[in-house]
Amino acid sequence: MTPAFAGSSRRPYLIIAATAALILSALIPSALDGSSHREAPLIAADPTADNTDLYAWRTDGDTVTIAANYIPLQEPAGGPNFSNFSDNVLYEIKVDNSGDARSNVSYQFRFQTTFTDSDLFGETYLYNDFPLETTGDPDQLYTQTYTVTRVAGKTSTVVGSGVVPPTNIGPRSTPNYAPIRETAITSLSNGGKAFAGPRDDAFFVDLGSIFDLGGLRPFNGAHLLPLAAEPGVDGVGGFNVHTISIQVPITDLTGTTTVPELGTQDAVIGIWATASRQKVTVLQDGQAKGSGPWTQVSRLGNPLINEVVIPLDLKDSWNFSAPEKDSRFVEYYRNPSLARIVNAIYPPLVNARESGRDDLVAILLTGLTVPPNDVLGNTEPLIFTQTGTVLADMLRLNVAVPPCSSSCSTLGVMGGDLAGFPNGRRLTDDVTDIEIRAIIDGYGSVINGIFGDLTPNNSPNNAVGDGVNENDVPFLSTFPFQADPHSGYSHQHHAVGTLTPPEPV
């Protein structure tokens, strides 16, 4: 037990800080109008420009699928204020294929909203007149269209355009969502596909327990404040997000003429997503509306970095900055506060290393090169997810690793499945359990066998998890893969998970 726990009422500071962040963003003053002087709000949540998750994985036909999600925790029954993309936000997926953490290829999505009066009711708060059968149905009154622009170096090319499918409102308005989704997929002129619109939130995690002093329901008994063990509960189950997704040829992203070979540097790309809002000059200089330039307000590469690694007072700064500048955050990876917290609140676990975590720096900031080892049998160092030496939070994908066809594991590489996180991130990857086990030195035998002491495999740390092992609804078997959005009329939140997290491998 650390000194911080000497007094029984004392709570771990960082968990308080995490709670504080929520409270601060939820509550803190807007405007205090004691009288008539103008006091605009001081802080502002901006969900429309808030990245929630990023997924990238190799898909069939030598393609890569990337999905960047925005606008967190949308209640499906959110009418009349359904969430939408913003016309004033630049949504972007960026890809580094040269190892400098700068974008070589990016896909920009820009939206345009039109609103028409109802034939039946004139000006109305309703979303549609009659049941909607397809995307772009004329009965949809609130419509968003978009363009997809591919930027390579200084060259911008519009490669496609599409229509955002409607919210899944209910059995009267959207009785059959599958054709609506299928007609929303648009072809890109470079051989790819795109989709932009509402989806089920593919993330699955027990938010309700984790934010209650770091609780993991299946391990309630091991907590400093014990409770009876319970199955995990999917805190984001039954909520929707908005996604921008592309499926493009591998070579479109690597800049090579053929699919790169395993072991070559060309095979590794780094990916992140951003949202940016328009820069303005306070006193105007005649700048045209809607023309940018842009200021980044949110970004996302690896999952949970801003939530778990970056301290409260740097969260904004992290969101505004570029991955190439991430070396200034390295100490928070090397000395993760979460390791201190878990060591303190789970006495039965083997204490994790609280400092000197070069493993986390390598996995999350540079990517991994596999040393010669008996597990994979390579006799020379093998470039796996390493993009280079620049410290940068990017989701790294080795496109030469084919999609998993057998012995697939939701633990990804930790489960012996090289096609999963942290080699990219698939929808099914249980990144919460993977990251918790990594941070608490429960890496499993595969990773420990490859990397040795860098990645310890302590037991029972290697069996810990939140008890939410899969998404609340099944994913689709074809693009855009993420499940259709939950219906406002009928949906269920907080699906119950399991008492048994994935077995350690």
Partner: protein, 441 residues
């Protein structure tokens, strides 16, 4: 995450507050028998309101640890939550509790930025702008990448009349983080400099950056409506206020906006009813004054007097909780019968905060008190940035007329009425009459 929670709790603004305010008014003896009509009319059951998140947080926190909190960050959060309660309830008693929490936090850790942000916010709320500026500058030195600190500094600079500094600060803020908070300040600075179309454009960006429905978004949406009203686009302003009311039913600032529209259309009875609704929810001086003026415009002078009496009581309560209200009171006394007192208050305010707002209050007070020459000087100062405020232009126009400067008077009164010929049920007709009087001569 906050989207959902603030959406559902929404703005349950202050059914409670009326009870609190009235209790405090009675307790502090500022409500006399002459205001009893107003008090009776405003009496609304406080108990019917569900506790907000902020109230629950304070209840839980105090229940758990009472005065025993000794963590700088916990104390800062407690103070910030008290500030939120002040906003939700309009009960300024929360200011004292917030102040206490911030002071204790900073005693433990003098560099706790959240406590400094809280102190700065509190200083703004109390109109202690020099203090707010100083606190903001200390906080920004500790955490230069936190955008909202620039908001505190910029707001203070605006109120202190340091407009060039404010422009630089808000430019930094919006460069750092273009969001609802910074876009809305860009809009206000443009408005102060007379650029209403630019102000509208920036406020539209602020609304867009606000997310689906939280109160912050509706606050800036109503500001957008007010700007549309300021350029005389009543139809668009009404559409904006209605959107706000659809998203946040009963939203008090939108209700007041609808009252302004109805008054501008000449539907004074409807306007009175809406202002009554707004003032019953939150008896903000601006609502109560507007209600009184609408009664006056409708010729219902006794009822107007009831409202004016209440204004003084509310101002006294704010003063008792450390809120500087000199400018607001000065304008009120200049319009409602105590010009000498108005001059004293406005002069003190202008000495402390030489803003265009203070200049307008002082000019108008001096004019009411018969000192046209000095009033003329301050009227110039009030419109120096290029004011696009019909009421300020009306004041400056009448003062120019009295000073014998027909050309300036014509220009100011014309601009006032060109912007919005129905900017006030009471003063727009007087501005029109003055313009007619001048051009007839």
């Amino acid at each position: 995450m906050n989207t959902i929670s603030t959406r559902t709790s929404g703005l349950l603004i202050g059914l409670l507050l009326t009870g609190l305010v009235l209790a405090a008014l009675v307790a502090s003896g500022v409500i006399g028998p002459d205001a009893s009509l107003a008090r009776d009319r405003l009496a609304v059951a406080a108990s019917s309101r569900a506790p907000s998140e902020a109230e629950q947080y304070v209840a839980n926190t105090t229940g758990e640890v009472s005065d025993g909190i000794n963590d700088a960050e916990d104390l800062a959060i407690l103070g910030l939550t008290e500030l939120q309660l002040a906003r939700e309830t309009a009960d300024p008693a929360h200011y004292a509790r917030a102040e206490d929490a911030f002071n204790r936090s900073l005693e433990i850790d003098a560099e706790n930025v959240d406590a400094l942000i809280g102190q700065g916010t509190l200083a703004l709320a109390r109109h202690e702008f020099a203090d707010a500026l100083e606190i903001g500058q200390r906080a920004v030195a500790l955490r230069p990448s936190t955008a909202r600190i620039y908001g505190i500094i910029g707001d203070a600079q605006v109120e202190l009349g340091r407009y060039d500094d404010a422009l630089a600060t808000i430019q930094q803020m919006v460069d750092l983080r273009p969001d609802l908070a910074s876009y809305s300040r860009v809009s206000y600075l443009r408005e102060l400099h007379g650029d209403l179309p630019g102000a509208i454009e920036a406020m539209e960006l602020a609304v867009d950056a606000g997310g689906p429905a939280p109160e912050n978004t509706e606050y800036v949406r109503v500001q957008l409506g007010n700007l549309q009203f300021a350029i005389g686009d009543l139809a668009e302003a009404e559409r904006t206020y209605r959107t706000s009311l659809a998203r946040l039913p009963g939203y008090v600032y939108a209700t007041a906006g609808m009252a302004r529209i109805r008054a501008a259309e000449g539907h004074l009875d409807d306007a009175i009813q809406l202002y009554e609704e707004a003032a019953a929810q939150i008896p903000l001086p601006e609502f109560v004054v507007a209600l009184g003026e609408t009664y006056e415009a409708a010729g219902r002078l006794d009822e107007a007097q009831d409202q004016y009496a209440l204004v003084e009581a509310i101002q006294a309560l704010l003063e008792a909780n450390g809120v500087q209200t000199d400018i607001e009171l000065a304008s009120y006394f200049a319009d409602h019968g105590d010009p000498a007192r108005a001059v004293d208050l406005a002069r003190a305010a202008y000495d402390r905060t030489p803003s265009v707002r203070a200049a307008d209050a002082l000019a108008w007070a001096l004019f009411a008190d018969g000192d046209v020459a000095e009033a003329f000087t301050y009227a110039d100062a009030a419109v120096a940035l290029g004011s696009a405020d019909s009421r300020v232009l009306y004041h400056a126009g009448l003062i120019a007329e009295a000073a014998g400067n027909v050309e300036l008077a014509t220009a100011r009164l014309s601009r006032s009425l060109d912007l919005n010929p129905a900017f006030s049920p009471l003063y727009a007709p007087r501005a029109a009459a003055a313009l007619e009087r001048i051009t007839d001569d």
